[in-house]
């Protein structure tokens, strides 16, 4: 097999991984802080894709959709935390999971009512149609843009968490929320913001994936499973883990797709099973949490 083909497939894998990483990151940040696994994460990814599509057609520009959809869906996420999830803190860890699962039912059916059950094409923004010559081959501009944007978002998130006072509160809150309360931090507000951030990241993933996948009400199911696979491999609650595992899974899928396309979806689950057998807590997970 041609080497340049493999390199091009590697780039495709990284583009796929970029969306996976951003989606899984939302899931893992919320878990790290709140101890809640959001089963509506896939549905909110799907809502993000629809919101991006709708806002883009409303404003006539993809860029407004890309900017506004994560913000609006993130705000909706905060509403979910404030009205529903908040009531379940202190109860069994299964309860928020069951609640968000029921919520995903409502969200998917709600989108079916508003936009119909059929898939809708998500047009690539005109500035990003076409290919770029990478020296070894031609690569779609849009995918290159996705990789760059996700890299920037990751950098901003990392700087925010590691270099700002807000980030310090967030990291400390993940360690010990009770001490933070004693120190006079309103941890409820921090949790609200983090839940909103997590949902916003899912929505961003949805908008970015829009032009690469078809947009339909069921798209969230596979995304949820993918995000779970990535967070389980990386270690739940670990940001570095989400990035590394996302890249692993994305590249793995695209490489297998090159040789055995029918195995592409299956291989990520096999990868997860293999990691679990060796390290049940995931690559970067803390032992006590697994």
């Amino acid at each position: 097999m041609d080497l340049s083909l493999i390199i091009m497939q590697l780039f495709s894998g990284i583009a796929l991984a970029a969306v996976l990483v951003i989606t899984a990151l939302g899931l893992t940040i919320v878990f790290g802080m709140l101890g809640v696994v959001n089963f509506a994460h896939g549905a909110l990814f799907m809502i993000g894709a629809y919101a991006g599509l709708y806002l883009a057609s409303l404003t006539g520009s993809f860029w407004w959709g890309l900017l506004l959809a994560p913000v609006l869906v993130g705000a909706f996420g905060m509403l979910i935390e404030f009205v529903l999830v908040r009531r379940l803190y202190g109860r069994s860890i299964d309860d928020p999971l069951l609640l968000t699962f029921g919520l995903s039912y409502i969200l998917v059916e709600g989108v079916r009512i508003v936009f119909g059950s059929d898939g809708i094409p998500f047009p690539t923004p005109p500035q990003l149609i076409g290919v770029v010559d990478l020296g070894v081959g031609f690569f779609p501009k849009y995918r290159l843009f996705v990789i760059a944007l996700v890299a920037v978002v990751l950098l901003v998130l990392w700087l925010m968490l590691e270099r700002t006072r807000v980030g310090l509160i967030v990291r400390a809150g993940a360690r010990d929320p009770q001490i933070m309360r004693v120190l006079g931090v309103d941890i409820g507000k921090v949790w609200l913001a983090i839940f909103g951030l997590g949902v916003g990241l899912a929505a961003l993933g949805g908008v970015l994936a829009g032009p690469m996948r078809s947009v339909n009400p069921e798209m969230g199911t596979l995304v949820l499973a993918e995000a779970f696979v990535v967070t389980v491999i990386g270690g739940l609650g670990s940001i570095v883990g989400a990035v590394v595992a996302g890249l692993m899974v994305g590249i793995c899928i695209s490489m297998v797709a090159l040789f055995a396309p029918e195995m592409a979806t299956i291989v990520m689950f096999a990868l997860m099973a293999a990691v679990l057998l060796v390290r049940p807590q995931g690559l970067f997970g803390l032992k006590g949490r697994a």
Binding site: F31, V37, L84, R87, L88, R91, I93, D94, D95, L97, L98, L99, F101, G102, L103, S104, Y105, I106, V108, E109, G110, R112, I113, T221, L222, L224, A225, F228, V229, T231, V232, L236, E262, M263, T265, I266, F269, A270, M272, A273, L276, L277, P280, R289, A290
Partner: protein, 333 residues
């Protein structure tokens, strides 16, 4: 006045005694209720579905309700039971009485495999891993279309007559079909009741209540979890066999995450941790679906909302809440 109050007290203790007797004969009570079901519900098809999903959810309840392990992948065992029944009858030409044990064995084997991986993890990981592994089974079935029929589902294995001890039962008649399938349900109910009454049944509840203490008591927690996972998968696979015999097709969706989710919803609606809860939950869910879909195709939004309300306010489900409320039922499960 005094006479009246003693009368009330004695009627309360009487109903408490009656309730205790009924609880002690829970398999028999379930079977009587199930035998009456086709005549109480608006359609025989609905009754058969309650029967089938009741068995699947009952198996699931062993894991979720009694052991406290929230699996989101039970469609894998239900679907495997169904597929193997269909494949054994349609492709290998086996009679139904050979196909069914084979299918249950296959579902059990898969449960051992998935259980061995997923019970290595704890807490929330368990839910995520069972979901992911069940989706793996779904995609394998989707790709192996020469074997499973792929997206179109498995077809071509109609069982129209059941030969039993020289008796020929017309299996196309809905009433006959219901009572034949009820024999499977009776088997599942008996197995479930035996498991719960055994010392092992006490151990799994101990694991749910306090895993560390159970371990400190000397129980091999991982092994117990794996065994209960296997038993749970086996009972759910019985439901899968029933579904295949009933529908004469196996839709690919029977392996899908949606089916796993539906099982979770049913157990929570009816009441996890209780013997009667699964059948009550399956009946509630399916009747809701039946009624609501009469006036809107978007019944899922209504069912989803009801489920959310249950999680928030009635986490013990219908039966669990009734047990708390009814005076003669307190402290009984």
């Amino acid at each position: 006045m005094a006479v009246e109050s003693t009368g009330e007290a004695s009627s309360l203790s009487q109903s408490r005694r009656l309730f205790a007797v009924l609880s002690d004969h829970r398999v028999l009570v379930s079977l009587v209720a199930l035998a009456l079901l086709p005549w109480l519900l608006p359609s025989k098809a609905l009754a058969v579905n309650v029967l089938i999903y009741g068995v699947v959810v009952m198996g699931y309840n062993l894991l979720f309700g009694y052991t406290g392990l929230l699996s989101f992948g039970h469609a894998a065992f239900f679907g495997t039971g169904a597929y193997l029944t269909g494949i054994a009858i349609g492709r290998w030409g086996l009679p139904w009485f050979a196909a069914v044990p084979l299918a249950i064995a296959a579902g059990t084997a898969l449960a051992v495999l998935i259980g061995a991986i997923s019970t290595r993890t704890r807490g929330i990981y368990f839910s995520m891993v069972t979901l992911a592994l069940a989706q793996l089974v779904y995609y394998v079935a989707l790709q192996a279309s020469s074997f499973t029929g792929g997206e179109n589902g498995l077809r071509g294995f109609t069982v129209d007559r059941i030969d039993l001890l020289g008796l020929q039962i017309n299996f196309l008649d809905p009433v006959n079909k219901y009572y034949v399938l009820m024999a499977f349900a009776a088997l599942a109910l008996w197995v479930q009741s035996r498991i719960l009454n055994s010392p092992f049944g006490a151990v799994i509840e101990a694991i749910r209540e306090n895993e560390q203490r159970a371990r400190a008591c000397g129980y091999d927690v991982e092994r117990c979890k794996l065994i209960v996972f296997m038993l749970s998968g086996a009972i759910s696979a019985i439901g899968g066999c029933m579904s295949a015999l009933h529908l004469s097709i196996v839709p690919l969706d029977s392996l899908h995450y949606q089916t796993s989710g539906m099982i979770v919803m049913m157990v929570l609606l009816g009441g996890a941790r209780s013997f009667f809860g699964p059948f009550i939950g399956a009946a509630t869910f399916l009747i809701l679906e039946d009624v609501v879909s009469l006036w809107t195709p978007h019944w899922q939004i209504v069912v989803g909302a009801i489920f959310v309300v249950f999680v928030l306010f009635l986490p013990k489900g219908i039966w669990g809440t009734l047990l708390d409320v009814l005076p003669f039922a307190r402290e009984r499960r």
